[in-house]
Subunit: 420 residues, 2 copies
């Protein structure tokens, strides 16, 4: 693609013609305003104006997806809301290699426009020069595998449960059990950051003590993603506490610290950054508004997350399996020829999803996280971990879960408890 | 209110009972997960669990506002989607005085839940101890008025147009004209940050030269809000460039740098922070999803913006006048007994909105911004500025626009051009 422009693809819905609505968007987000102003010369329009590259007409509907759209003047027939996919080219020299300023242009004051009854950013194609400013994932898939010591199968992870409420010593007890059970990866819940009842510093101490002790016994050091989410100054401080305690991963709520916060942390971080996308539902659940994951994950990767949440199959959220698989594939698709990120499959996961997940994605380069699915296994945590590995063994040897469970008691136990 | 809890009010829509949906939300965002885990004891639930304080039933609808809701088991009658407003109390000790971690709890992984076909955060009540961590607005209404030298009427502002494309010397020419015309306030467009064709540094130089020169002639120094939006490291650098050049205001795209970015800048800033809320439409336009401005503006004020965009009446966006007035009033309502923020009325504004705006808000503590409404005035920029002031004179003396225009030619010119 051309390196002097930024391409943004939108799903739009409008009571106007697709062409008119697209022109309004392009004008509003480049040289125009609601009225012609003297300085908006043809030369400026030519050099700095956004251009419509493609308009693909889709179906029409009789009622608007979003409120507040303005019907075209003078039309008194029942309104029709036309849907289409448009691609707009913004001159790169309007913006420069800046994710915050990119957002103001491609995802800024346009969702509000009355010319639209629906507008969703579907995808972005950016010049490679953005990567002169951003570092991308530091560890990615290979670096994470190396640190976790897990190869040729997914990294099997779990979440501390209950999500919140464990005192540091109680947390230590849970971590001990998980680490001795051989789990590859443990993460804090995203709602557990630096709570007054159990400050991060104390949690780090309690956790790393048990992780190191277990590693001495088993030879395997579980990767623990500490939730270091906080204000900007805290990110460095928290990161340092984790690193100095021997921790091997930090986690952030991407949308809480912003992509700018992620990029800031990445410049400094010595550890893989586990990117949790909570709040994302608010940006994506209305199909006619917000942003598609395809666009979002590119920005997250550029900013520098090493792991990125995608949900898993049959999750407890609204997201369909089709959408989950697309998200995982988005993450596994190289960006600028690289920027490897490891998709994190979680939410309502247990051993039972492994076979179908592998069938659909044909990759083991994922972190597969089961919270309740490991910690609530009827025969305990160790059996929970084993059941997850067995699920993936079944997947990789192309054997059905049911058949594999006949000779693998932990998988059998998981199926009896969790399959409905 | 109690200082040991955080109250969040949501508008919900669910195919379940309101009680059940509320319980799922409270559980998911505190101690629970999709299955009972051994460690979730009654003691932990009692101490760390979120509690439902109120459920107010609203209307029911027959089709879901958002996709992906799960119908209750065993029901085979046509589904009903119940709407209600619920208030949930989260223990403060789960979170601490941290906006990023607050967001993960009150606005995190809950918009996705299948128990809901609609979920919107309407309001937040927070303990004052948050303000031990955040600084709030540094200048607010009084400090901004003092710096701008404007009292007893709104600060009249404009936006550089065309939004983008002016070379530094061309920008200087526009600013000169505006400053000599006596405008109080000028802002960059939000899509104009630090573009390669006209870097911020050069723009600051070109602008401040003209502002100072005009001030020497007129005795009045226009406040210019430079768009310093960028990555975290750039915020300080850009702020310093503005300050060293004698600038009196910096502007940021709040949602581009994140609330954490705003709080970071605020700790350091010596200038009023002009908060632009672009991207906000994506968070708020779907009535059944995202966040209401009432909640959002509290977070922005705590983080430290001095000015906050609210749209103006009869704007070019989807937002109704009723919603605009509510937003302005939200901003003018003290928070923790203070945290003054100046609402910024913009979008499709010209002199014509002054009378109705004043009638509805009964305050002059706003920045009223007209881009095209000043720059496209038929008799030029100076007449544009005068027309805005005349509009507010009419409002404050309780005279209709039409009557005031009879003796005020600039207002008359504006009305002929812009009223439709």
């Amino acid at each position: 693609m051309r390196q002097d422009q930024i391409l943004a693809t939108y799903l739009i819905e409008t009571p106007d013609s697709l062409e008119h609505a697209a022109q309004v968007l392009a004008g509003e987000q480049s040289t125009g305003t609601f009225v012609q102003v003297p300085g908006e010369t043809d030369e400026i329009k030519e050099k700095y104006g956004a251009k419509i590259l493609a308009i693909k007409e889709l179906e029409s509907v009789s009622s608007p997806s979003l409120p507040g759209a303005k019907l075209p003047h003078g039309e008194n027939r029942p309104p029709v809301f036309r849907r289409g996919e448009i691609t707009v080219a913004f001159p790169y020299h309007n913006i420069g290699p800046s994710i915050p300023n990119l957002l103001a242009t491609v995802a800024g004051n346009l969702f509000e426009l009355r010319e639209f009854s629906g507008l969703r950013l579907m995808d972005l194609e950016l010049p490679e020069s953005f990567m002169e400013m951003y570092l991308g994932p530091q560890f990615g898939i290979q670096g994470t595998r190396q640190l976790a010591g897990v190869h040729q199968r997914p990294i099997i992870g779990t979440i501390i449960k209950p999500n919140i409420g464990l005192a540091p010593d109680e947390l230590g007890t849970v971590v001990k059990e998980l680490a001795l059970a051989g789990v590859d990866f443990i993460k804090d819940d995203e709602i557990n950051g630096n709570p007054p009842y159990a400050p991060l510093k104390e949690r780090i101490h309690a956790v790393m003590q048990e992780i190191e002790r277990a590693a001495d016994r088993t030879g395997k050091k579980a990767m623990y993603a500490f939730n270091i989410t906080g204000d900007i100054d805290e990110l460095r401080r928290n990161h340092d506490m984790v690193q100095q305690a021997g921790g091997t991963c930090v986690m952030v709520s991407i949308n809480s610290i912003g992509l700018a916060g992620v990029a800031y942390l990445r410049k400094y971080s010595q550890l893989p950054i586990h990117g949790h996308r909570n709040q994302w539902g608010a940006m994506t659940r209305c199909p006619a508004l917000g942003m598609e994951f395809t666009a979002y994950q590119k920005l997250c990767r550029m900013a520098g997350v090493d792991h990125l949440h995608t949900n898993g199959l049959n999750n407890k959220f609204f997201e369909s399996n089709e959408s989950v698989v697309k998200s995982i594939n988005d993450c596994l698709t190289p960006l600028f020829g690289g920027l490897q990120v490891m998709p994190v499959l979680s939410s309502g996961q247990w051993a039972g999803q492994a076979v179908e997940t592998y069938r659909q994605i044909q990759s083991t380069d994922v972190i597969h996280i089961a919270g309740g699915g490991i910690m609530a296994h009827p025969d305990g945590v160790s059996a929970g971990v084993k059941s997850m590995i067995q699920g993936w063994e079944a997947a990789l040897t192309n054997v059905s879960l049911e058949e594999y469970a006949r000779t693998h008691v932990e998988l059998k136990g998981a199926m009896e408890k969790f399959s409905k």
